[in-house]
């Protein structure tokens, strides 16, 4: 049987991900309601919004990470390459191989630096030159020169910023299509943050990136598109307020809530 997905960039350009009528519940708690969002291919889409509005939740629905949460329930659809990733024939393993993820807190495997990058490729049955793949991935995240002499050391022996870059290298080593990043710089100092941002811009040439951030300047600096989420104050349910090109969202937001948030009058 042919795989549900093909490798590489989706044909037809346009949108890498299309979420429609997406809703998430944690048990009885309606965490996010009715999200319709299109993520453009080879662009950086930033998700911003106040704490607790469901940014991470939405990001995790994009590669079925919420499957791991027992109480989580997802409704609606997320189309990737024309296939609903929540469809009955779709194996989440294949989804996550193409839609990678970088987490808020750097979480390298407690294994060697080499193994951190190589492991994903190995379990997917990568038959090419593993050392070359590791080197390329590490070069791409501008970490190679710092670690090339200590590839056998633990990934945990690196600094926080290095660890986060290692995690990004790990994510891109399996040649995904889309990289989801959940506040990748929140644990980093401004210099390391700048490194990662440059890296994101670099990666955008080949990957579609969705990044959650609390940092308004960061969203403005790196993203092409911005989606603003807010929370309905009575029910604490999150909703998508507005999405569009970053310039437009920051210069002339349509919704007053967006305006309040980005000008700092909210939260």
């Amino acid at each position: 049987m042919a795989s549900t997905f093909i490798n590489g960039t989706a044909p037809g350009g346009g949108y890498a991900l299309t979420a429609s009528r997406l809703q998430v519940w944690y048990g009885d708690f309606h965490a996010v309601s009715d999200v319709n969002l299109e993520v453009p291919t080879h662009r950086i889409t930033a998700i911003i919004g106040p704490s607790g509005c469901g940014k991470s939740t939405i990001l995790r629905t994009f590669n079925r990470m919420n499957d791991l949460v027992d109480v989580a329930r997802v409704e609606g659809s997320v189309h990737y390459q024309g296939v609903d990733i929540y469809g009955p024939d779709v194996d989440p393993v294949e989804v996550r191989r193409r839609i990678g993820m970088v987490f808020q807190k750097p979480n390298p495997f407690p294994k060697s630096i080499f193994e951190n990058v190589a492991w994903g490729a190995r379990i997917h049955g990568y038959k090419g030159d593993m050392e070359q793949l590791v080197e390329e991935s590490l070069r791409r995240v501008v970490l190679w020169d710092e670690v090339k002499d200590k590839l056998s050391q633990s990934g945990l022996s690196l600094s926080g910023g290095q660890q986060q870059r290692l995690c990004i290298a790990r994510a891109i080593a399996v040649q995904p299509d889309i990289v989801l990043m959940d506040e990748p710089c929140s644990a980093l100092d401004p210099i390391a943050t700048l490194h990662i941002e440059e890296l994101m811009r670099d990666l955008a040439a080949q990957y579609t990136i969705v990044v959650v951030t609390h940092n308004m300047q960061q969203a403005a600096r790196v993203s092409d598109y911005t989606a603003f989420f807010s929370v309905i104050s009575e029910t604490r349910t999150g909703e998508l307020v507005e999405v569009g090109p970053t310039d437009r969202i920051f210069d002339s937001p349509e919704d007053p809530r967006t305006n309040d948030y980005i000008t700092g009058r909210f939260g």
Binding site: E94, G100, K105, N107, F109, S154, C167
Partner: protein, 538 residues
Amino acid sequence: MGVFTDKAAVGASDWPQGAGETSRTRRRRVRGRVWRGLLRVSTVFGLLVLTTLLYNVVNSTWGYVVVRDQLSEQLIVLLERSHITHAERRVDALRMVDGNPHAVVVLSSQLVPAVPDGFRGVPIGDQHAALALIALVPETNRFLLGLDETLLRQLLRAGSRWADLFPHWPTESISLVFVVDDDGVLSRWAARQDLPNLDNLGTDALLAVLETHLSAGLLRRYDREEPMADRSRANLLALVEERVKEPEVLATFTLRDSLVRRGEIQAFAESEGAIAEFRSWLTLGFLVRPQSANAALSGIRTALLGSLWVIAITIIFSVPLGIGAAIYLEEFSSRNWFGRLVETNINNLAGVPSIIYGMLGLVIFVRALTQITSGSLFGAVSADEASGRTILSAGLTLGLLILPVIIITGQEAIRAVPDSLREAAYGVGCTRWQCVRWHVLPMAVPGILTGAILAVSRALGETAPLVVIGAATFISVDPTNLFAKFTVLPIQIYQWTARPQAEFRNIAAAAILVLLALLLITNATAVLLRNRAESQRI
């Protein structure tokens, strides 16, 4: 007045101020110190209890013991060398010494008529006496009649030839002297030190010794346990020591008494005509000797082997099963009411008294599964050998007992693996099993191992359930397969402490030390494995 003053803020009166604050702080510190003291006291108390326990055990394991052999090694050897085929140690011994040029028999006059023809009236120094060196002593010979053991020993030490004693006696060297009482019992004897001891006897000789001295009934019993001809030399030697030499322990002393009251002990031994020797009840011999009715000769070989066999079965059965269940429950099963029910049950099972597991084992393994646990299904042993009361049953019962503990500790260890690691693994697209195999397990192994080893240590020390399923009370044959009868260290210790004779308490103490050492080895292995697992994780 306090050291610092507060800024006059709103609600300042709500906070303790000045001297009030200082005394409050002091009180907080005092409370902390009291707690620290209590914690230290509990630690010291625990240490004290442990030290007392160890002191008691060590105190009984080493010390003086006063022993008297029924038959000396030299005599046994001599009798064996003289081809005695008779069990009785009566005056017939004379005939046995006939032809032994190194023996002299000292008889009282009343026995002279009972002496075989060849010996009657032969005076010392006669050519016959020169061959056999048998002296028939008339009552008038006060010197020889008054021989007691001490004198005999002196005599043997003083001169090396008979002629050294009386110039007209033969020049043969003296090696052995028998003294035969009026009733014909060979009562005293003395030997030169260079006479061979039991160690010089081979298997055949030992067999002959046993046949000479043991009753036919006893021989049959031993033969049933294991055919005499098949037994090892060490085994035969142990039997000779136990049944022929028959050392009788007159008294044992603790290590403390041995150090403090040494003189008294020596005097006591002398008065009893016995010897006092400082003995370590814990010796290599103690480890390798089989069980015996005589404490001084008893070893823990069978119990030690039994423990090792049983614990091996327990580990093989419960560790993989327990770890497997823990992984399944933590990583694969869904958290619905059924899963919670299972978990609650496992938690409760861990608290069930061990004797209940014994009863369970009795019903399931010993009775219901007799065919399997006795090995008759596999044609290994005849069914009457041990019925279901075998090593296999014991190992499985202990396995059941510790299974819940292994599951629970395994679950704890797996739960301690941070979710961020799982997310990282799933993030690159691995399956659940790959995540468990390559990330969760390597992280959890040290914890899982610790739990499993603690559980196994507990099983090593379990007694009650094994008593219930029927551990053997006396076996002197090594367990060699799964379907053998068994006894284990704790049961052996229990039985020995229950004996009335003091010396059994000494070997019980020695056995306790062995058990403690075994536990220490188990735990050390765990620490090693743990460190290895941790270092491999980088």
